[in-house]
């Protein structure tokens, strides 16, 4: 029953969206009715999605999708998250969000009616394309042909709080770029020359980018404690394809800032909007078609892959084609001086695009090679570290001086203050590196990261007002974001360069010396949880006989899917993480891996700061 409601709502909503696509020459909607139809369609698709959630929560196994991906004794939160923990449901979520973004735009935007209608038309055509994809190849409302009382269960590795909200966050980001795409496309068709759309694009690009950041960070945090490999970024193809729209989105946000200097490059902005959304679709295509194997590739299916490839080709192809035909003219020439804000932003944009192309090349190169020569190659961390990092370095260098630059001239404001502080800081960093273990990458990362932080802090101090108001925070917002990046760079550098890995064989009661700490295996217990069995080891971490904390790595056994997952035990400290995973057992002797990851917390702090400043930027005009 609930499946029937969901499916009818889906079809009806697609129908309403199709009626919106009738060309103006045949029938011209009044703006009132147009908006009404659009909102009705949004309302219906939300009903459709909610009914799928209801089917999951009530464990309605007459729905084939629920039967395949749920189990009646899962905790409630994983029943809900199970809705998007599979291909069909996640695409329905994607579709729902396309519509919600359009809905939000129709409420907030103060654009002219014609422009608004054009944006929403493009948004609904995207909606219709994806709705057809769902209806014809991945319907979540199929009825189960046999009567069953129990489902097959959700992949245990996905049963995790961070992963419950990771897909919606990520999709909010990916799909947000659909609105950016629509705005860019609509701007090509507009006749008037106002630049209001750039301000709107900026707002939506920042919203999407912020969500995407949060989504990627959640996924990465999950990989850190759930996969038990001791790291948080593996240059896995699936991570790479989420990074590509993120980088282009970042370039887009930065090139939109140029409107503040009254220098607009509409052509470039539209180009980036198209690129950004098409990379989001490419990500979906590569993951869903099963071309790339990972935890994300649910049951793959050639027809689905073909369909998404077609969607990707059509949307990107049309986007670029219209862009070619109706390319906007650049009104005023850019003021490119040797070193001013505009040229810094443009160089940064170029670097980001090159970085994105490098990642793209590394990600799809194996596919090219396999098609051409039928051999399998894999491109991993070493390639990306060796190519992407050097590209980003000059970008970081520019970031450290960016706040000082001016729009109009080559002059640098408060030149002397900066130089003095830079020299002092560099000296301190140099001394630090000299007296600890020297490592080139460690040194470069530390000095760039701290430069960026320093430059931003000085800029904030120079603008300090005694009255801290929201407006003040808004005016220093970009510096806050840059501080976040600086902190993150330091965290990334230290956690990757100075990571230490140990292997121990240990039995209950034994102690290990780890530098200044003592690690003792206290006990190992087997406990029954609601839908799994867990084997938990308890380590006590002591420093000079003072107990600091317990570290609890575990292995979980899920009887429904007969799978074992490892759960790393992590002791968080501001300065270092002690990270333990349980290995095999032999005669009561346990093999454990201990990683000491310095400054990992800085990465998450940096990300949180970036997200915070993204949220502030939304309210900024």
């Amino acid at each position: 029953m609930i499946s029937l409601i969901g499916f009818s709502a889906l079809c009806l909503s697609a129908f309403f969206s199709i009626t919106l696509l009738i060309p103006n020459s045949i029938f011209k909607f009044k703006i009132k009715f147009f908006l009404l139809f659009f909102r009705l369609s949004t309302f219906l698709i939300c009903i459709s999605f909610v009914s799928l959630i209801v089917a999951y929560v009530s464990s309605d196994f007459s729905n084939f999708n629920v039967f395949q991906n749920s189990h009646s004794n899962k905790p409630l939160i994983y029943k809900i998250s199970g809705t998007w923990g599979n291909h069909e449901g996640s695409i329905l979520l994607w579709l729902c969000m396309i519509s919600i973004y359009g809905f939000a735009y129709s409420l907030i935007s103060n654009a002219l009616d014609d422009f608004k209608i054009n944006v929403l038309k493009i948004q609904s055509s995207l909606f219709v394309i994806f709705a057809f994809f769902i209806i014809f190849t991945s319907n979540p409302f199929l009825v189960n042909s046999v009567k069953v009382d129990e489902g097959l269960g959700l992949n245990p590795i996905l049963q995790d709080p961070a992963l419950a909200i990771h897909p919606p966050m990520l999709y909010m980001g990916y799909v947000g770029f659909s609105l950016v795409f629509s705005l860019g496309m609509a701007s090509l068709f507009k006749k008037s020359r106002d630049t209001n759309w750039i301000i709107e694009t900026k707002k939506w690009a920042i919203i999407s980018w912020t969500f995407l950041t949060a989504g990627i960070a959640l996924g990465s945090y999950w990989a850190y404690y759930e996969l038990g490999w001791g790291g948080w970024w593996f240059w896995d193809p699936v991570e790479n394809i989420s990074l590509m729209p993120w980088i282009v989105g970042l370039a887009l946000v930065h090139s939109l800032i140029m409107i503040r200097g009254e220098q607009t490059i509409e052509r470039w902005i539209v180009f980036l909007s198209i690129l950004c959304f098409s990379l989001s679709i490419l990500g979906t295509f590569l993951v869903r078609s099963g071309i790339l194997t990972s935890v994300h590739s649910f049951a793959s299916d050639a027809s689905r892959g073909l369909f998404i490839l077609l969607i990707f080709f059509l949307i990107t192809g049309f986007g670029f084609l219209i862009f070619l035909i109706k390319s906007p003219a650049n009104k005023n020439n850019l003021q490119l001086l040797l070193i001013n804000k505009t040229s810094a932003l443009i160089i940064n944009n170029i670097l980001m695009i090159i970085a994105m192309l490098t990642i793209l090349l590394g990600t799809i190169y194996p596919i090219f090679i396999e098609v051409l020569t039928n051999t399998r190659v894999s491109v991993g961390g070493p390639y990306f570290n060796a190519t992407v990092l050097p590209i980003l370095l000059p970008g970081f260098l520019l970031m450290s001086i960016a706040p000082v630059l001016s729009w109009q001239s080559n002059k640098i404001k408060k030149f002397r203050t900066y130089v003095i502080f830079f020299l002092i800081l560099s000296f301190v960093v140099f001394l630090h590196s000299y007296f600890t273990v020297f490592n080139t990458w460690g040194f470069i990362g530390l000095i760039l990261g701290s430069w960026i932080i320093l430059a931003s802090i000085i800029s904030i101090i120079l603008r300090f007002q005694f009255l801290i108001s929201f407006n003040y925070i808004k005016s220093i917002n970009s510096f806050i974001a840059h501080i976040g990046v600086g902190i993150m760079i330091i965290g990334i550098t230290f956690s990757s360069v100075y990571q230490k890995e140990y292997n121990f064989n240990i039995s209950v009661g034994q102690e290990i010396n780890l530098n200044e700490n003592i690690l003792k295996l206290e006990n190992i217990k087997i406990m029954e949880e609601k839908n799994y069995q867990t084997l938990k080891a308890s380590f006590s971490l002591k420093q000079k006989n003072d107990l600091i904390d317990y570290i609890l790595p575990a292995k979980n056994y899920y009887p429904v899917s007969k799978m074992i997952t490892t759960e790393a035990g992590i002791y968080h400290d501001w300065l270092k993480d002690i990270y333990i995973t349980l290995g095999a057992e032999d005669n009561n002797i346990w093999n454990i891996k201990v990683y000491i990851n310095p400054l990992v917390s800085f990465i998450w702090i940096g990300v949180i700061i970036m997200i915070f400043s993204g949220l502030i930027a939304i309210f900024k005009r």
Partner: protein, 193 residues
């Protein structure tokens, strides 16, 4: 030049899409990668016996089907028969799926007389391997060591366990990644002998 640059995104898009299309049409399955070594001669290698470090086995022995040593006995005559197939199985004591397929090798050993079962202990401590084989039983005609993983590299081993079958001309005629199952032996391997 400017014109070419304008069309560049479209050209790139079309090329990328064509490759993806070809990839999907030929249904490349990532979990079952093609082997460059299939139908080729086995790579050169030489390995020491797990039980006796003075007993060596090299690819030459397998290729020519001569002087195949059996565990700690250097040479036995019974092994020098023509028409002998060799199964090479990469395993390790730390590899759980290896335990799952282990019993099947006893079956192969009992059912097919003209098979030489070569087990290669991959990146494993010899003590652990011996212990593992004592616990699970030793179906292998010969157990070779590959402590630094060089032999596995030569064979392009993807992940443990991995099994190769070599015919009496020294050519690799079958390869399987992951644990063997009864179905694979019945459907794919038995027809080879």
């Amino acid at each position: 030049m400017n014109k070419v640059l304008k069309f560049l995104p479209l050209i790139l898009l079309i090329t990328v899409c064509i490759f993806f299309l070809l990839f999907i049409i030929f249904e490349k399955n990532p979990s079952n990668p093609p082997s460059a070594l299939l139908n080729k001669e086995i790579p050169e290698f030489s390995t020491k016996s797990l039980y006796n470090k003075y007993v060596l086995l090299s690819s030459e022995n397998i290729r020519r089907n001569v002087n195949l040593p059996v565990n700690n006995n250097a040479y036995t005559n019974e092994n020098n028969i023509q028409n002998k197939y060799t199964i090479i199985n990469f395993f390790a004591s730390w590899c759980t799926p290896c335990r799952a397929e282990h019993n099947l090798f006893f079956e192969i050993k009992n059912n097919y007389q003209n098979v030489f079962l070569l087990g290669i202990a991959h990146k494993d401590n010899p003590k652990d391997s011996i212990k593992y084989l004592n616990e699970e039983g030793n179906p292998y005609s010969f157990v070779g060591l590959d402590q630094d993983g060089k032999i596995a590299l030569e064979f392009g081993v993807f992940g443990l366990p991995e099994t190769f079958i070599i015919n009496n001309n020294g050519k690799i005629i079958f390869k399987h990644i992951g644990p063997l199952t009864k179905e694979i032996i019945d459907d794919e391997i038995s027809i080879l002998f």
